[in-house]
Structures are given as structure tokens and as C-alpha cells.
């Protein structure tokens, strides 16, 4: 314990900086993931015949070990923060894509028909019916992805992306378990916080009428 406190006082400033980096990498990756996966998921609902195949292909990507992805990306994107973000982004796509697709597909078809019959354009149907009603499912996909990403972001250190992984790798290299713990605990806390915060947001965004069912 004393060792940890000594390390903390020695690395305190470093810790803050690394946590910041860590948050930035995760946030950037998840935002990128959201902005790609949600529109893609909605597009997939328009081509349900091939959607399953596309989703399983993305599922295969997900199974490639993260370390391997990072290694693969190095020749193309070099080292640093950018390849780290891109690698993490790839991992965030599947859960969000899958949940967007399922969420939108599960919206009651009679509502879509009512909307169409009243003269909603395709875009209006998405914006006024499909997205709001699928939002709880989409949000839980985002939450799932975020929690994983915060954990995996420690690997960014491996290709010089920075973040809390730096502390952990330093700890490994220097045989300093305190340093490993110092990197791990904030990462875990970040993940827990993100999970809690997003749960709250999810509840808030759930349409009033559906709160009973999803809670």
C-alpha cells in the first residue's frame, strides 16, 4: 500500500495526463464508431436479405485478436495515437451495428406502415419513428462497446498511442507491480463510470411508454 502511495506521488501528474489520453482515445474511437455504425445499421435494415451476411462478416473481424489488429495496422498507419483509435474503432462497430440493426428491425411494422401511409418520407420515418423507438437498444450497444473499448485502450500503448496502458507496460518492464495497479485501477474506474453514465442516459432517452419494459 505504501508503495502505491509513493508511486502515486511520483507519478501523480503522469497519471492524470495518461488518464486524459486514455479518455481521449476511447472517446474518439467510440464517436467514430457511433457515426459509422448507426447509419450503416439503418442502411442494413433496408437490405435485410444481405444484412445477416454483412453482420457476420463484421463479427469475424471482431474475433481477430486486438493485438494482431494493432500489428497489422502498423505498416499502413505507423505508430501513435491514430492507428490506436482506428483499431479500437473497428471493435466498436460490431456491437453498435448489430444493435442498431436489431433495434430498428424490431420497431413495430404497423407503426412504420402508419408513418408511410401518412406521408412520411424515408428519412422522416427514420428520424421520427425508427430511431426514437430503437434508441434504447442502440444505446445499450454503445454502452457495451464503450466499456470494452476503455479496457482495450490500454493496448494502445503497445503502438505508442499513450493512455493508461503506458503505465501498465512501464510497470511490466520495470517489474513495478504498483505501477501496473496504478494504470489498471483508473482504467477500471473509467469503464465503470462510463457504464453508469450511459445507463442513466439510456433510461432518459427511452420513450416514456417503453420504460416499464426495458428497465
Amino acid at each position: 500500500m505504501e508503495a502505491i502511495i509513493t508511486t502515486l506521488s511520483a507519478y501523480g501528474w503522469d497519471l492524470l495526463e495518461k488518464t486524459g489520453e486514455h479518455m481521449f482515445i476511447s472517446l474518439a474511437a467510440i464517436l467514430l464508431g457511433v457515426s459509422v455504425a448507426i447509419p450503416a445499421g439503418i442502411l442494413l435494415t433496408r437490405i435485410p436479405k444481405v444484412a445477416d451476411r454483412i453482420i457476420s462478416f463484421v463479427g469475424v473481424l471482431q474475433t481477430v485478436p486486438s493485438l494482431a489488429i494493432l500489428a497489422f495496422l502498423m505498416p499502413f498507419l505507423g505508430v501513435g495515437i491514430l492507428p490506436a483509435i482506428i483499431a479500437l474503432f473497428i471493435y466498436s462497430v460490431l456491437p453498435i451495428l448489430r444493435n442498431t440493426y436489431t433495434g430498428v428491425m424490431e420497431v413495430d411494422s404497423s407503426l412504420k406502415e402508419a408513418g408511410r401511409g401518412m406521408g412520411m418520407s424515408n428519412w422522416e420515418t427514420v428520424r421520427k419513428i425508427e430511431l426514437p423507438l430503437a434508441l434504447p437498444v442502440i444505446m445499450s450497444g454503445i454502452r457495451f462497446a464503450t466499456v470494452y473499448l476503455i479496457g482495450w485502450a490500454t493496448l494502445a500503448a503497445f503502438i505508442g498511442g499513450g493512455g493508461l496502458g503506458d503505465l501498465i507496460f512501464d510497470g511490466l518492464n520495470l517489474y513495478q507491480p504498483e505501477l501496473i495497479i496504478l494504470g489498471t485501477i483508473p482504467a477500471t474506474l473509467l469503464a465503470l463510470l462510463a457504464n453508469g453514465g450511459l445507463s442513466l442516459l439510456e433510461k432518459k432517452l427511452t420513450p416514456v411508454a417503453m420504460r416499464g419494459e426495458t428497465a
Partner: protein, 382 residues
Amino acid sequence: MLEFKEVTKTFEGSKKPAVNKLNLSIEKGEFVVFIGPSGCGKTTTMKMINRLVEPTDGQILVEGTNVLEQDSVQLRRSIGYVIQQIGLMPHMTVGENISLVGSLLKWSKEKQRERAKELISLVDLPEEYLNRYPHELSGGQQQRIGVLRALAADPPLILMDEPFGALDPITRDGLQEEFKKLQKEVDKTIVFVTHDMDEAIKLADKIVIMNAGEIVQVGSPDEILKHPANEFVEDFIGKDRLLQSRPDVTRVEQIMNANPITVKEERTLKEAIQVMRDNRVDSLLVIDEIGTLKGYIDIEMIDAQYKKRSYVYEAMDTEEYSVHKSDLLRDTMYRMLRRGSAYVPVIEENDRLVGIVTRAALANMVYDTIWGDETAEVAAAD
């Protein structure tokens, strides 16, 4: 208002057309009900009007314009649409649901709210319901909102796809009556799809019976009941209803007793009692010199007032309910049975009394119908 010209729809992968060379014209303000067994093409026909289903061939003209030449989104906004599953948006308040088309048409928030208030007053729901969510309403209330939503942009034409099909019979009955009244108030042309013959008879100005993608018969409910075009229509209407429809054409004067027991209003109560005794009845219809119906008097009323009053006009009850001699019997029967009265006086112009319909006469009529029909059937079987 609405015209089908040789309209055909063949769905992909099917050889037989779902709707085959359909021709029909619908007048403004008409309530047209499409009816037929499932798969007869009635829903397809309706959905081609707002292009939820695209016709394969032919023309559909709404107020003279071919629907295929209009932008489908704009077209649908100009036609009301009500579906069986109600389809209220669960994430929007009742008010937002009602003004959904308004919001698509980019109405101002005030205009949307005003319109929603105006509409909800049409169906006797309190204004604070506008702030509730659909799941807080009963099924019947939800479909009322569904209908209002279709009325919001004041479209001249409304399409309704079995709108009351998912409701329980009592709610459905109430809603049908309410809706028929509402339709007269707002004066819309309505295309209504159902498989429920009772509903069709109750609501329609014009019934279109379809089978296998083609029109079998078009006519008013009365015409169809009286002159079914062929066996299919007869079967579809059902024997029971053909029987029931008989009193529809019988008028009150055909079964009334033309010699009701009466007393003039200026006679004394004593004389009235004498008339009752002579004719063995317990109540009398009161008339004046020229035979105008004034009221009625019965033995209990005389008994209660015998000491205080001496003339019939002083003791009689003027709250008399009567029917006109050319009224249809079906209305009389219903009203008589509901009021629980033993008889109804029959009048002609100027309230002149011409006869009386008693419960006994109605009973005779019913027996005749049943008995008469049985003998006919026995004869046919032989």
C-alpha cells in the same frame, strides 16, 4: 371524386392478379365499404389509392388527377389513413400523434396545437388527454385518436383499413355509431375496408362486394340485401341477415291496427272509464275534435286524479311518443322494445291519429316471418 379505370395489380411471383381490371367510381361525400373474404383484393385495392401498393396497370384518379403522376409522399399527406393496428406512435403524446401530418407539413406549433384541440373536442375526450401517451388510453380511445390523426390535415378523402377490427364488440359498436355521425359532420369521402357484413350494412352508403380480385356487386346496403346479385353474395351476406332484412322494407302502416280505442279530450273521466270498460282496455289515446293526437290516459292516472279533476284533458299525459305511418318497421320495433311500452300510436301529417302498433302485432309479424320461411323451406326440400 375517386375513379378506378381498369385497375390491375399482379404481385411479383404470382400469376393470378390480386386485383383484376377493376372499374369503379366514387362520389364526393360517399361512404364506400369494400367487403369480401380474405384475399379478395379489397385491401390491395384500397392501398393502391395512396400508393402503398403500386398498381400494375390502369388508372386511379383522385379528383381527376392520376395518383401515379403525383409524388407519393405528397399524395399520402393529402389522404387520411387509418389502420387496424391503430399505429399510434408510443413515444409521442396524444396531441403530437394527432398533429403528426401537420408536423410533416411544417405547420407552426400553435397551429398544430389548435388543430389537435379542435379535433379532440369532436370525440368527447377531455383536452388534457392531449398531453397523455397512447398507452394510457383504452383501445377504443386510441382508435378515436387514430381517426382524428387522419382528419388532422382536413383531407377530402380518408382510407380506413378495418379500423374497428381489433376492438371488442361493445367498443366497436359505440365507435361505429360515433364515427358515422362524425362522418356526416365533417363531410368526407371514405373508403373503408372490412370483412364484417354488419359493419358494412351499418356504415356504408355504398357497399362494394369483391371476390378473387373482382367486383361482384356494388349497391346500397338495402339494394344488396334485397337483390343479392348471385349465390356468392347471398352466401356472403348469410341467410340470417337476408331474413332479418325483411322488416326493413315493411312500413308501420302495413301492420298497424287502424282502429285504436280513443277518447276525446273534453270528455269527463267518468266517460273515459266507460270507454275502457266497453272495450276491455286499460288505457286510451286522447284526441281532439279533428282527430289530432293529444296524449294518452290510463286507468291508474284516472284513479289517482279522480277526486281532483273531472275532464280527460286535465288528467291525461301529453308526453306521448308516436311514429309516423311511413316509418320503417325496424326502427319502430327497436324503439318500442327499448322503451318497454306496450304500444305506439301511429300518426300521419299534422299529428292526426291513424292507428296503433301493439306488441302483439309485432309478435305476430315475427311469427309470420319465421313460420312463413319454414314452410317455404319445407316446400323447397320436397
